[in-house]
Subunit: 196 residues, 2 copies
């Protein structure tokens, strides 16, 4: 039976981890991005449907393509982040179910049901986006997730000709802890949970 | 600068963690459920909006209320799980923004915009659902997340008189590893990510 991770690990993942807006000048190499995906993709999704699709925007040219679609408050910090992940979800995910969930005909649960496809892709693609955030933190990186951007614009610019839609963005790198402001408050246990 | 967690921790969170369907007869006490929430609530949400609301269904009476809304394939294993978390999201989350995000008028970004409210609550409530899964694993528990249930029925039965909607369910406990089947395949890096 597994034990709890140690305090330092719980702290790195959750308790003292912070959303960062200012980045150290330390690049994020390919092998770290590959490790993030190798962890993220093992997290659970409904019928293993795995709809998330990730673009790691790292080059200056790719950053320039992203820039016009960022909200003003997110623009400068995103241009300065070592990497910006675009977390998308593929509305054609169900075409892969014969391979990803081979023991039953899961493709037929979705074909011709656009509302069910959209909800399943959004829910599970978002779960995978959270796995990406925690995978990056587990590997020692800091994250800066954002939903303040022009979704339709990013979808058109980066996913044209596919059925992938942009969901949210996440800056990745090594954050400058000296630039952090005090943490925002959280709800109490009683406000957000109940044991029945 | 943070280092990567060790291999055993990455394995417990992602690499060897599995969705469980068969549970050991070991209860999950209140203090572990409280710890899960204490970790989960520290994960990032957009403008700290924190829309997730969790019901831990543990008593026989509460399990009996849940039973009629489960899909057939999820019914028996859920009845036998030590705890079933109902992960919901509160469409009135923005009323708390003056407290959760006090340095600007974030409430006004949402008031009177039902589509923006729904999308934000669903996205961020789902991110928090993934934090709950990984928090439980970090504490040594196993998870069995599910979306095969009657959402409207669970919403009506458990959240009547509120603006909270059921999102997904997650069985929690200590899984019987001897009952696991071989793991389903995952997509390759090239199929799900690209570095630009």
């Amino acid at each position: 039976m597994a034990l709890s991770l140690d305090e330092a690990s719980l702290s790195q993942l959750f308790l003292s981890a912070r959303t960062h807006n200012v980045w150290l000048e330390k690049p994020v190499p390919d092998e770290v991005l590959i490790q993030i995906i190798d962890l993220m993709k093992m997290g659970p999704t409904s019928a293993n449907c795995s709809p998330a699709r990730i673009l790691f925007v790292r080059s200056e040219a790719a950053k320039a393509r992203l820039k016009p679609f960022l909200s003003e408050g997110n623009r400068d910090k995103t241009m300065k982040a070592p990497v910006t992940a675009i977390i998308g979800y593929d509305l054609k995910f169900y075409e892969l179910l014969p391979r990803l969930f081979p023991h039953t005909d899961a493709r037929s649960w979705f074909a011709g049901k656009p509302e069910h496809i959209q909800e399943t892709a959004f829910r599970n693609g978002t779960l995978q986006g959270a796995y990406l955030i925690l995978a990056a933190r587990a590997l020692g990186l800091d994250c800066g997730p954002m939903s303040g951007f022009n979704q339709a614009g990013v979808t058109q610019e980066f996913f044209a000709g596919t059925d992938i839609k942009a969901n949210f963005l996440c800056n990745l790198g090594y954050g400058d802890a000296s630039a952090l402001k005090p943490r925002s408050p959280r709800l109490s246990f009683e406000e957000l949970a109940k044991i029945l």
